[in-house]
């Protein structure tokens, strides 16, 4: 984009990010990109007006906006022809490519985008609000797919929202608890007998490491749904065995508590393996160097290897939160009112399945997208996110690693 630098003058500016550059710099794709947007606007403009459309109030205003879009498409077409004709020296000789023209084109493209936004607001947003208004005031479940899903969501919003909250709470707290348990467990798991250990320490190490190994095998080798049932009913049985009444048992050992315990214990096993591989990826030379200085195995572990291993594991560990957001859905088996349970409840209440399951799927997707974005930011903050060039070469690396 040589014209960009020419237009911005001699002043050396900080280069913008890709999105910011697309929006704020003069560039040669302004016709192409904005024409595509304008065409979308034209398609929207050709849709029928919704009931409470504001553009329907003024035919003149709508016509002006419509023809602004048409004009842009026409100018773009002229520019395209111009470019095809003068392919070799377009950038130098064409009136469309001069710095001043580029700036005007950029400002005009903002106007076009604004116009398209107006059409979008009129046709889509207002149309959607109409649907919502209709669905929320309807006394019976409408036949239309989307209207019906809005109707069901609106009328069962309490259950649905508490389902979302429960899912988030289960996933977030389950992951956090699991992380600390996994730290503990992986520490047991990687214990190796050291020469200077006495028999008691050796015994503890062997038992601890064996326990961690068995734990990981059993938990990762069985479905979480079965685990949740065993933990829930096992807990109830245990509490009733101590002489508690059913009501008391319910109070202490609710499905939610059992679900939280299940998801924590389950996630612990997976996180332990993640941590183990992260710690395993730390060069053994680090341990050797620490030991050669006289540090004990524990000191070498805790001060040198562990911090590096945990840092290695952060991307994979944060993935566990996303997995838990989704996998908590199987916990509806023990009737904890998570998002999945709420969804099946609503589906059962109205005998309509697809409508609400599609909404549930979208909700899960939004939850995981938000979570992964937040985790990305977190791991970036901890300077652990960048895996470096995996397929690319080193010059493809962004210049983000400067500190």
């Amino acid at each position: 984009m040589s014209t960009t630098t020419a237009a911005s003058g001699a002043a050396v500016e900080k280069p913008r990010g890709r999105v910011a550059s697309l929006l704020l710099d003069d560039h040669r794709y302004v016709f192409l990109g904005t024409s595509a947007i304008a065409l979308v606007g034209l398609i929207l403009a050709n849709q029928p007006h919704p009931v409470s459309s504001f553009l329907a109030l003024s035919y003149a205003a709508e016509s002006v906006l419509y023809y602004v879009l048409v004009a842009w498409v026409v100018v773009s077409a002229v520019a395209l022809v111009n470019k095809l004709v003068r392919w070799r020296d377009y950038a130098v000789t064409s009136p469309f490519a001069s710095p001043v023209a580029r700036r005007v084109e950029r400002i005009a493209s903002y106007v076009i985008c604004a116009v398209v936004c107006v059409f979008f607001a009129d046709r889509c947003a207002v149309g959607f609000l109409d649907l919502v208004a209709y669905a929320t005031t309807s006394t019976s479940n409408p036949d239309d797919f989307w209207v019906s899903s809005i109707y069901m969501l609106y009328n069962m919003r309490g259950v649905y929202l508490s389902g979302i909250v429960t899912t988030i709470v289960l996933a977030v707290f389950g992951t956090i608890i699991a992380f600390f348990l996994a730290l503990l467990l992986v520490f047991l798991r990687i214990q190796a007998i050291d020469r200077s250990d006495n028999d008691f320490v050796r015994f503890v190490k062997v038992v601890g490491s064996g326990f961690a190994r068995v734990y990981s095998t059993v938990v990762r080798g069985t479905p979480m749904m079965v685990q949740s049932l065993i933990i829930y009913f096992g807990g109830i049985g245990l509490l009733q065995g101590t002489g508690m009444t059913v009501a008391q048992t319910r109070e202490v050992w609710s499905p939610f508590t059992a679900a939280l315990v299940t998801i924590s214990l389950n996630s612990t096993a997976y996180m332990m393996e993640v941590l183990r591989s992260g710690i395993g990826a730390v060069d053994f030379g680090q341990t050797e160097a620490a030991r050669s200085l006289g540090l004990s195995q524990w000191q070498a572990m805790s001060k040198v290897v562990f911090p590096q291993g945990v840092k290695n594991s952060i991307p994979a560990l944060s993935n566990e939160l996303i997995i838990n957001l989704k996998d908590s859905s199987v916990l509806s088996a023990i009737s904890v009112v998570d998002l999945m349970f709420a969804t099946t409840t609503i589906a059962g209440a109205y005998y309509r399945q697809m409508q609400i399951y599609v909404v549930a799927m979208a909700t899960y997707l939004v939850l995981t997208l938000v979570a992964s974005k937040l985790l990305d930011m977190l791991s970036h903050r901890l300077d652990a996110g960048d895996l470096g060039p995996v397929l690319g070469t080193s010059d493809a690396l962004p210049a983000a690693k400067e500190h």
């Binding site: 050797e288 050669s292 200085l293 001060k303």
Partner: protein, 261 residues
Amino acid sequence: MATEHVSAPGSSEPLIRVEDLHKSFGSNVVLRGIDLSVSQGEVVTIIGASGSGKSTLLRCINLLETPDSGHVWFHGEDLTAEHVNVNRLRESIGMVFQGFNLFNNMNVLDNCMLAPVALKKCSKDEARERALTHLAEVGMGDFAGAQVTRLSGGQKQRVAIARALCMEPEIMLFDEPTSALDPEIVGEVLNVMRDLAAAGMTMVVVTHEMAFAKNVSDRVVFMDQGVIAEQGTPEKLFSNPEHARTREFLSRYLDDTNEGN
């Protein structure tokens, strides 16, 4: 504690004494009975072809490798005895690795301060002072706050030497300290080692730098096939080797050096 091996204090006892050391990895026999002693203030270089067991011998001295049989005495204390406190003995045996092995999660200063502070050799302030002194000795005083991942190989190795010195060891083991460095940088590390030798540090150096072996060491040990084939003063070993194998090995090296110059 293996008290029966503790000898009477006296200068006759060498600092390190290796006796009939055997070590094999699976079916691969690496050391076939090594006897070696290193006295206080001596600089011993170990040379030999790759796979002759030089590094393994060095790593057996501070028990990074556990010998299959044989003994390693340090100050008359048997390191190979069961339940000996290896950690305490390692405090007095510094080691420098081919791959530097600086702690990547810390900066240069923390690398040097970690062990002295963790092992309560001295207070934190004292450790910092000591670290800065040793870093200055190896010419890395200006890099105390630097992240180790951003240093060059030669700088890393010099920091590694300073880190080992911070424990104030009685002996330093060097495991091919310059093998991972390019020829231009080798000099800066060798100079540091030369200074160290001049200051009277007891050193055991596994190296392929024949010039260093020749000029700096008091004794050169030539290893071949897991045994010490020949040892002696550098003058004798380099100018008049007894063994055919030694002659062959050295001729190849000296040819290379001559061509290089």
